[in-house]
Symmetry: C2
Subunit: 461 residues, 2 copies
Amino acid sequence: MTYGTVTKDEIAIFRSITDPERVSTGESVIELHSKDESFHKRCKPEVVIFPKSSEEISKILKVANERGIPVTPWGAGTSLEGNPLPCMGGIVMDMQEMNRILEEREGDFQVVVEPGVVYKDLNKKFSKKGLFFPPDPGASATIGGMVANNASGIQTLKYGATKDYVMRLEVVLPTGEIINVGSNAVKSSSGYDLCRLFTGSEGTLGVITQITLRLAPLPLHFTAVLVNFNSVEDATQSIYQIMCTGIVPAALEFLDTNVIEAINLYKDTNLEEKPTLFMEFHGSNEAGLKEELSLIEEISISNKCSLYEAGIGRQERDRLWEARYDTFESMKNANKGMEIIIIDTAVPLSKYPKMVDFARNEAISKGIKGYIFGHAGSGNLHMGLIKDPKDAEQAERGMEANDAIVRCAIDLGGTATGEHGVGIGKRKFMAHEHGPSLEVMKRIKTLLDPNGIMNPGKVFF
Amino acid sequence: MTYGTVTKDEIAIFRSITDPERVSTGESVIELHSKDESFHKRCKPEVVIFPKSSEEISKILKVANERGIPVTPWGAGTSLEGNPLPCMGGIVMDMQEMNRILEEREGDFQVVVEPGVVYKDLNKKFSKKGLFFPPDPGASATIGGMVANNASGIQTLKYGATKDYVMRLEVVLPTGEIINVGSNAVKSSSGYDLCRLFTGSEGTLGVITQITLRLAPLPLHFTAVLVNFNSVEDATQSIYQIMCTGIVPAALEFLDTNVIEAINLYKDTNLEEKPTLFMEFHGSNEAGLKEELSLIEEISISNKCSLYEAGIGRQERDRLWEARYDTFESMKNANKGMEIIIIDTAVPLSKYPKMVDFARNEAISKGIKGYIFGHAGSGNLHMGLIKDPKDAEQAERGMEANDAIVRCAIDLGGTATGEHGVGIGKRKFMAHEHGPSLEVMKRIKTLLDPNGIMNPGKVFF
């Protein structure tokens, strides 16, 4: 597909649609919108537009659609798969000025927001009302970016991913049509689930301009648990056995020795450098939690844990999770000047020990430094593979290890991406993962975006 | 759209594809497939086919698609909105002979089934392994029917609807293409969520031929609670306050005085004839449950309950839920010779008291006997409106009340159907509920089923 370029003519049109200062071709703005947190190569947009309403977006999309100009929506640029990089040029639609909380419906455990609202700000605001939006991607993402990528995180195990909280969306289609999908009722069997179709579609079907989220009540009681094991196998076996009890931890994170070393270095912590589980449990009362923990302790001991620390207080618990959130930064700190390929596969739970084992051996056999961590209770494996941008041969080995690990996950019945989305890096695995249904996805893409202007070069080739 | 009819020629082709005895035009078989549990009028198919594999279905669909013959998939015929009625004639594809459990993956809490497996049989089998498929539609539905309708039920409050358990589907498209959608990994952000598109599409996009379900661990401890109130308002206020605590009951059902009367008559029970809540709580330990119940009791008392009965034993609890499951039969028993319009709206939680109030007044003002019950904790209101098939004027008033109540639900931000699907009866509300996005649903329907052979006359006009 060939795309139109943005000429002075279009710039003038876009400036007449929005305020002139919200259409930028300035070098620093272009630069800021050419890179996310991934290792994918920089792609510069021709223009960055900061819309303030769905009506403005509708008008801009009509022009772009007629002239075949690519449009790539942008949240906070924190994604890890190149999802918002304008790889065919054109317009980056930066949603950060659409950042209003439009309606607080705490009586329904719901909130209506514009896409530019920052996740952490939303939760800060609602914590006073005893409510929160649980999927926690770690990064300082916007709600719009989280919906587009179906982001999730540490507490997805108990609370679900972003998709489980999106009740209703306003979407501007590439033709400029503005539609509303979904329902404010928590239950509905009314027609096709378009809300789910747009959630996780990575901006390839339209621009999301309004989001109704379900919120969850903040847990009344919580407690963190830290367990060390002498081997990765003992740790992964424990994960599996814990999940079989029927107790659902709020978080169940696995961190290998390399990750703990990097964290100790970066955070100046003093964690034992062994395969480790960080867990958190939420409940409506302490008596219930206490009983749950006794079962967790029993399982940990039966798998020969070298340390079991439960009943961790608020402050220590916050430090623990801060350390976990800073895993990516810790890896960067320990590998200055290097690039990090972040793996994000997910497999059925019983395959998790095998997945970890394969990933570890693959890195070792390719001579690549690997850091294994991730949302183990959900079968989601993250791994940082250290890639040297100045050593083409090493970088190639790194990519080979990446590809082998992703293919292994798919062959184990899993997915190429548990939460980071397809973006640029996972496109090559889509046919292997989806088979003939990939063709159906493409037909839907062509149906809704016949000129292919929405975030081209992502999800599909 | 005009449809082809099934001639001797096609019958011969279908018989050559399947065994001859699995293609029936016998009067009793035709009769059995012309009516579900709804009040919608009988529609006879021209032929009923009982396929045994997706390959057979693929071949049949190719013929039907070329010749414009309608194809309506059939589960157990227990639906309440006319969803599987062949209202344009043609083929009924009865899935009941595809009833094998294909793979038991209890290590992943998953099972792979054919669509004809009966829900209750599945749960009986897996209860021995400590697992269950929670959405409980009450009726003896097939898994295929539940997926097609996105069925849910009493325990959806805690455990979610069918859609929350469908991980992967094999679907035969009208063109005969066989595709697989979804993933065996519990987390995935890989491409468009086609699994959700087919779930709840009521057989209008293809025939579902294989289903991978997630299963939940059976709760280790459970307890039922029965509460009576002096007024509907006190009951609905309690529902709202209970949901605000953050405690998630497994079930929270509201039954009005008329329903309790009908149940007492049919089941020979001795329930107090007052607005009533049936609740159930699940937990991993008794200590936690006990603390939860003390909060529920406090709320019930503060709303002047006339009876609060907790800690109900196994036997009594089973009787309670059996009574609830037999609500529909109880209404039929109390109104012999009458038809029952079943309302299935859902609204945001804070609107539930208003919804109940409106529904009650609407029935009273139209002089229609109404029975209000439903999955109150999820904002799902059911109501049986008694319609006299021999009194056209009364029947019309009944339909007027139905329409007013459904429109009220939509205007309160809710939906025309919480769990029964659109079928025939809710089509007229789709434009009001979905606005311009209904057009997008229709485009997707036309994309995947260009000749409109799949379950025509449902969901859309």
